[in-house]
């Protein structure tokens, strides 16, 4: 399958057309989508129109964008004007947003071809896509296994060759974990790097959009396009994002890579073996491995599962059957709210709304939410200390390879533990990415997570590129 950068080069210099590229991808979608279910919606007609327009521009000698002709899939929690955006929830089924998310505008301006909207755990709450109201996505490498989540459809779309790249959102690991489970690259940038305008909010202080691609160079290329300050997002960092593609060949000689000595328990031995192999590869390439301690990491799950549901309970209050989405009619306003939300939200979403409402309610706020915010500070301080001694930190992305459907659905806590290595990054607001690095005992891919400090994407990409060369 063609890389994103190869498609851009070929379309731009006229060796092949954007239309041919789109047809190739639509062909693969036609062949396998019925078994994978990566998409909530395939926008084939619009994709063909966009591709034809790019081909016309190339023929006419006009300048085309940095992503000319690249078929891209969007997680279905990013607003696309006039195109259904559901968050894989019944409450939004049929909703056509009146505006484009900033990332969608940027992609269109760069000449990308949107091929569809991908499946997710409802409102991005989950680690397997089993919480989608429209049925789960299957892992293209083994359809008896989950693709991870919540951006499982976006990961599967790239893994199956349905799109050359896709966008996901990551609140506690929702890009990195599915990337690891599907054997692709997934990046969660520094909080504030990519605009959240038009991303349906889950937990606003944690959410961040990022790319899925089949290799590190493609990820750097796509991230450069979608990054940058946006006045429409008040949490957007008011400075330009660093150049990433330019550092990929720099190597890791002299870099200091952190090994966490007090990593939370519960990681499978075959995954830990790959982590050791990753350290060996970086050492061979000239990096120094330095032990670091992150003692507060053990509390990250508690902090996250109080903070994220608290923010979600507030964000999801807007689904009240008044301005958008679906309504269940009732005699008065309050009864309408309750009936609408009861019918529209799935079980996991209700559970998190309940948990968050409880954690924020009078009498419990200090004991739960207030405390969690303080633990968040401890985790951030731990990282700050560690990054005095190291440039990046390496951990597994996920404690295990892709698991079987149904194996964690009865136990919410077991599912939450999937995010134990990815959550700390979101709490700190740092960047982190998952790079495929060999396979586990079951021959399924293992992802290694590269973490860096705020705006530390260059160091992170250097290490990721080295791991890719060594894998």
């Amino acid at each position: 399958m063609q890389k994103l950068v190869e498609i851009v080069a070929g379309v731009t210099n006229g060796s092949f057309t954007a239309s041919a590229v789109v047809e190739e991808h639509l062909g693969r979608i036609k062949a396998r989508e019925s078994e994978i279910h990566a998409f909530n919606l395939v926008t084939a007609d619009q994709a063909r129109e966009t591709a034809a327009k790019i081909d016309d521009d190339v023929k006419a000698g006009k300048k085309v964008g940095a992503l000319a002709g690249v078929p891209i899939a969007l997680k279905d929690n990013m607003c696309t004007r006039g195109v259904e955006t559901t968050c894989s929830s019944k409450i939004l089924q049929g909703w056509k947003p009146p505006y484009d998310a900033t990332v969608v505008t940027k992609l269109r301006q760069a000449g990308a071809v949107v091929v569809g909207k991908t499946n997710l755990d409802e409102f991005a709450m989950g680690s397997s896509t089993e919480n989608s109201a429209f049925g789960p996505t299957k892992n293209p490498l083994d359809i008896s296994r989950v693709p991870g989540g919540s951006s499982g459809g976006s990961a599967a779309a790239v893994s199956a060759g349905f799109a050359a790249a896709s966008l996901g959102s990551d609140t506690g690991g929702s890009i990195r974990q599915p990337a690891a489970l599907c054997g692709v690259v997934g990046v969660k940038p520094t909080y504030g790097t990519v605009s959240r305008y038009g991303l349906v909010a889950f937990a606003s202080s944690l959410d961040q959009i990022g790319p899925f691609t089949s290799d590190v160079r493609d990820a750097a290329t796509l991230l450069e396009v979608i990054s940058g300050h946006d006045p429409m997002d008040s949490t957007s960092i008011p400075q330009s994002a660093p150049s990433l593609v330019s550092v990929l060949e720099h190597g890791v000689k002299g870099m200091r890579i952190g090994r966490v000595t007090d990593l939370p328990e519960g990681c499978e031995p075959d995954v830990l073996a790959r982590l050791e192999a990753a350290f060996d590869a970086l050492r061979k390439a000239g990096a120094t491995i330095v032990d670091v301690k992150l003692p507060s990491l053990q509390y990250c799950l508690t902090a996250y599962y109080l903070i994220a549901p608290a923010e979600a309970s507030s964000n999801l209050a807007r689904y009240d059957g008044v301005r958008y989405g679906n309504r269940v009619e009732a005699t008065d306003l309050n009864a309408m709210y309750a009936a609408t939300r009861e019918a529209g939200f799935g079980e996991e979403v209700k559970r998190r709304i309940m948990l968050g409402t409880y954690a924020l309610s009078a009498g419990y706020y200090d004991a739960y939410y207030g405390k969690a915010l303080k633990v968040r500070r401890l985790i951030s301080d731990d990282f700050a200390r560690a990054y005095k001694d190291v440039d990046t930190i390496l951990t597994p992305t996920s404690p295990s390879t892709a698991f079987k459907f149904g194996s964690k659905t009865d136990n919410p806590l077991a599912m939450y533990l999937c995010d134990v290595f990815t959550i700390p990054t979101n709490l700190a607001g740092h960047p982190a990415m998952s790079v495929p690095f060999g396979v586990g005992a079951d021959s399924m891919p293992v992802g290694i997570q590269v973490l860096a400090t705020t705006m530390g994407e260059q160091a992170m990409f250097k290490v990721a590129a080295e791991l890719e060369r060594a894998s």
């Binding site: 958008y324 009498g363 303080k374």
Partner: protein, 100 residues
Amino acid sequence: MPEQISKETVVKVSRLARLSLSPDQAEKMTSQLAGMLEHFRDIDALDLSDVEPMTQPYPLKNVMRQDVEAKSLDRQEVLDQAPAAESGRFRVPPTIGFDV
């Protein structure tokens, strides 16, 4: 940390969250929330008295835009997506005269 969560509290919270849970759902929710809250007790032992709460990862203050007119969403396009609209407005069921 507070006592174990009761079914009565769960029902109260569900009203605050505008979710109407059936008695069976409330029962199940109570046991699931109790399990999670039990797990969350791990932070009870921490002394957090001198720790500043962290609400945002990147400290930005008073983010304002220029006070100039800008294009806003098309009203009709927005209303077309509402469950009910009338005379350029969202339409809702009666808000007063019922037990709230």
